[in-house]
């Protein structure tokens, strides 16, 4: 099959937009896992929850605040509540009053958030069983603008929804980046993971910062749920098994703790995927190639693209290279 330049160009543009979405989906996880060392296995479930609620409520009430774009706000607010819930059920009992978070705590949070995620997963089916209006396969149909596409040149057409999703994803990722890098709160978040006793010494309540970090992470995650819905056009609770692994791989490839790294890794993954689909027209090949490239990144730079050397990782690497500690 001959691939035309137009198809490659389309693949490139869609890849950037898709990559932007993947980046935005992952930045919330970077914050809670990379910065605060909580392996949040409920991340994917929270995104799907937001997408499912958006779809179901939009089918019920077709108002602007509930359509996939307006719902970014609605779901962000719901994310505040869900973040607090996640913190007090799964995070606080384990690391609430722990000063330095170790691997043992990381494993314990993994199990706790796994349980939280499965509860959310079950919630969809329970709601569908209890109520008549909730559907596990909500039939949403939404497109943006009229006509719903943009023509570039004479042959490339891109759906406006995707452009919108790509741009808003960038805004969301940048907002979180600014929050962590440029504000006092961001400094406190970084400090609490390094030594919460020192933070308490200067009069800041570490528990409050941990709670805020969880809430911010979940709110940002849930605000990307409607974006995912707008991109994919449909959602079921089972889509978690597609979103979560992608988000985890992106966070690792971008470097644990680096929000910019996650966004860039998301872009690389999205670009590779769409370009391979455009050239081969086979989705299955695209997935393999994409993950091969991520493996390559990790093989060449085990800390990920923008990762800093965490103490544990650093000593492990030194051991591997035979350097005495």
């Amino acid at each position: 099959m001959v691939v035309t330049a137009a198809e490659l160009a389309r693949g490139f543009i869609e890849g950037l937009l898709y990559g932007s979405l993947l980046g935005a989906i992952s930045v919330g996880l970077t914050l809670i896992w990379g910065v605060m060392k909580v392996v949040n296995l409920a991340h994917g479930h929270l995104i799907v929850l937001a997408a499912m609620f958006t779809a179901n409520f939009y089918v019920l009430y077709k108002v602007a605040l509930l359509n996939p774009m307006g719902a970014i706000i609605t779901m962000g607010i719901l994310g505040v509540v869900m973040g607090a819930l996640l913190y007090y059920t799964s995070v606080h009992p384990i690391i609430g009053h722990v000063d330095v978070i170790t691997l043992k705590h990381e494993m314990a949070t993994l199990m706790a958030t796994f349980g939280f995620g499965l509860t959310l997963f079950g919630l969809h089916y329970a709601l569908a069983a209890w109520t008549s209006w909730y559907s596990t396969e909500p039939g949403i149909s939404w497109s943006f603008g009229h006509p719903p596409y943009v023509m570039i040149g004479s042959t490339i057409t891109i759906v406006k929804t995707k452009i919108l999703v790509g741009i808003i994803s960038f805004v969301i990722a940048f907002a979180l980046f600014a929050l962590v890098r440029l504000t006092n709160l961001g400094l406190m978040i970084q400090a609490v993971t390094q030594d919460s006793r020192a933070l308490a010494l200067v009069g800041i309540d570490p528990v409050r910062i941990k709670l805020l970090t969880t809430i911010i992470s979940v709110a940002f995650a849930m605000s990307t749920g409607p974006l995912y819905l707008a991109w994919a056009g449909s959602v079921t609770p089972l889509k978690e098994s597609i979103i979560a692994p992608l988000a985890f791989v992106i966070v690792v490839a971008g470097g644990l703790g680096s929000i910019m790294g996650s966004y860039v890794a998301g872009l690389i993954l999205g670009l590779t995927y769409e370009l391979v689909v455009a050239t081969t027209q086979e989705v299955s090949i695209a997935l393999v190639v994409t993950f091969l490239i991520l493996l390559l990144i990790l093989a060449l730079k085990p800390t990920g693209l923008f990762g800093y050397l965490d103490d544990r990782l650093a000593s492990a690497l030194r051991r591997r290279r035979g350097v005495a500690e």
């Binding site: 039939g139 149909s141 939404w142 042959t155 057409t157 808003i168 006092n184």
Partner: protein, 491 residues
């Protein structure tokens, strides 16, 4: 150590037995309609899905069969060799699992002593049940198994009532041949068993008919983004789309084809458009989308049409049969709340009629002779014409209908003898006037202008919502920026 291992093994075996108990109890409860019959009776056995994921289709099929049995029993029963028999249906729930089929069929034949069998619903379950029926030389009528493959295995006693998968797109291709001389066909379809076999036969047929297939691509089950396939097909100049697979992908394919501004003269999609929610969810985009179906309540098969075609009519008229289907709904708890009959009900109902006609023709209940009689049958029923291929048992008489969404209604458009309206070619929402280039032939033009139901302008509702969306989005971005700046400045 060894002792504890042994006790663990024992516990495991017991647990397995307990876990399997529901399966045994499930298979052991026989249900029947009518519950008791006085006098001579012909027993028909049926494994059918009343639970599991074919439960909806299974209930439809069961009640369709019961509606036909009611009609036969009310209209003098079956006359065989001077004696009159009543029909009785004995059925078991197979829980939509192929594993249950062998034991249920065996039970029906050896314990309930049924004379004939109806197959379970779906190709998969039918192919699990067919070998057992073949072993006992009992006729099994396939009313829900469209797959051609089952009939290539040499089963003599398996007889098909519905049109095989190879026929699904035949009607669509006939429409294209007649109305769209400059058609360039694109097939975009799921790589599952059913859709890919439908398309395989359709591609062969298109080649035979001299139609131009410019693009053909199968996608993985569960695909939700079709923009690559759509762009590639568009680039090849395709103006007809055939394909689909299941509900979600079929809907997404249609939606994205429209969103990407693909101008199409004709669209036929498997499965998805048959559901009423297809229109509720896609609104005006659904108009113009066609789909193949085995049957629909609006078909116009009648004794008059049979007479014109020189074929014998048998059984109730379409309206009579629908009345009996409603009667079954009000009398039987298993049939309550099914609403209007779906094609699955009609298929099973037609199976009963074909069987009864064959028994009366053969004049005996002997399976070998009834099967022999079926080879020469050519009848018209409310379901359409029924005639089988003597060698394979494949259905060759029945014609698929093509229905199309026109103005928010499902309208039968093909074959012409039963159509409610003409097919809508180049629907205005899919082929806007600006897209009508010089290549549009006079024939196409005539078809599109003479269509009885021009679609209304699609813009009003979409425009309103998209404006609200635009403002919503702008507000969201402004708020995010304000919050971000405030947080940054606060430091």
């Amino acid at each position: 150590m060894e002792r504890s291992l042994r006790s663990i093994a024992l516990v495991l075996v017991l647990a397995a037995l307990v876990a399997m108990a529901p399966a045994y109890t499930l298979v052991s409860t026989a249900l029947s309609y009518p519950s008791s019959v006085s006098g001579n009776v012909i027993k028909i056995g049926m494994p059918i899905s009343l639970s599991g994921h074919f439960a909806t289709e299974g209930h439809q099929a069961l009640c369709g069969a019961i509606a036909s049995i009611m009609w036969i029993n009310d209209h003098g029963g079956v006359k065989v060799g001077g004696k009159t028999y009543k029909l009785q249906l004995i059925y078991y729930d197979d829980a939509s699992s192929a594993n249950n089929e062998p034991s249920i069929v065996q039970k029906l034949v050896t314990q309930d002593h049924v004379n004939f069998l109806l197959a379970p619903y779906s190709s998969g379950l039918t192919s699990a049940a067919a070998p057992i029926a073949e072993q006992y030389h009992v006729i099994m009528l396939s009313h829900g198994g469209a797959s051609n493959a089952i009939f290539q295995k040499g089963y003599h006693y398996l007889v098909q009532i519905l049109s095989p998968a190879s026929e699904y797109f035949t009607g669509a291709l006939e429409i294209i041949k007649q109305y769209i001389p400059d058609a360039k066909i694109a097939f975009i379809y799921e790589n599952g068993k059913f859709a890919s076999s439908v398309v395989k036969y359709a591609e062969q047929k298109a080649k035979q008919m001299g139609l131009d297939v410019v693009y053909s691509k199968a996608y993985e089950a569960g695909t939700s983004d079709f923009s690559t396939f759509i762009s590639a097909a568009k680039a090849k100049g395709a103006n007809v789309l055939l394909g689909g697979g299941h509900y979600d992908d079929g809907k997404a394919l249609v939606k994205q084809a429209h969103d990407l501004g693909w101008h199409l003269k004709f669209i036929a999609i498997l499965v998805a458009p048959a559901q009423p929610k297809f229109y509720q969810e896609l609104d005006d985009i659904a108009n113009g989308v066609a789909y193949p179906a085995q049957w629909a309540p609006g078909v116009k098969y009648s004794p008059q049409i049979a007479k014109q075609m020189g074929i014998e009519w048998f059984g109730p008229t379409v309206q009579e049969w629908i009345n009996y289907f409603n009667k079954a709904q009000s009398e039987l708890s298993a049939c309550k709340g099914l609403g209007s009959p779906a094609y699955q009900a009609a298929e099973a109902g037609a199976a009963i009629l074909f069987l009864v006609k064959a028994i009366e023709t053969a004049g005996t209940l002997d399976n070998a002779k009834v099967r022999q009689a079926m080879n020469n049958l050519d009848i018209m029923t409310f379901f359409g014409r029924l005639k089988i291929d003597p060698n394979t048992g494949l259905q060759i008489g029945h014609k698929m209908i093509i229905a199309q969404w026109q103005n928010g209604k499902q309208v039968i458009v093909w074959p012409p003898e039963v159509a409610q309206a003409k097919p809508l070619i180049a629907p205005p929402n899919w082929w806007p006037s600006s897209a009508k280039t010089t290549s549009t032939s006079p024939a196409t033009h005539a078809a599109s202008t003479s269509s009885p139901t021009p679609s209304p302008s699609p813009t009003t509702t979409t425009k309103k919502t998209s404006k609200a969306v635009l403002w919503g989005t702008v507000i969201v971005i402004i708020i995010i920026i304000i919050v971000g700046v405030w947080l940054a400045v606060r430091k």
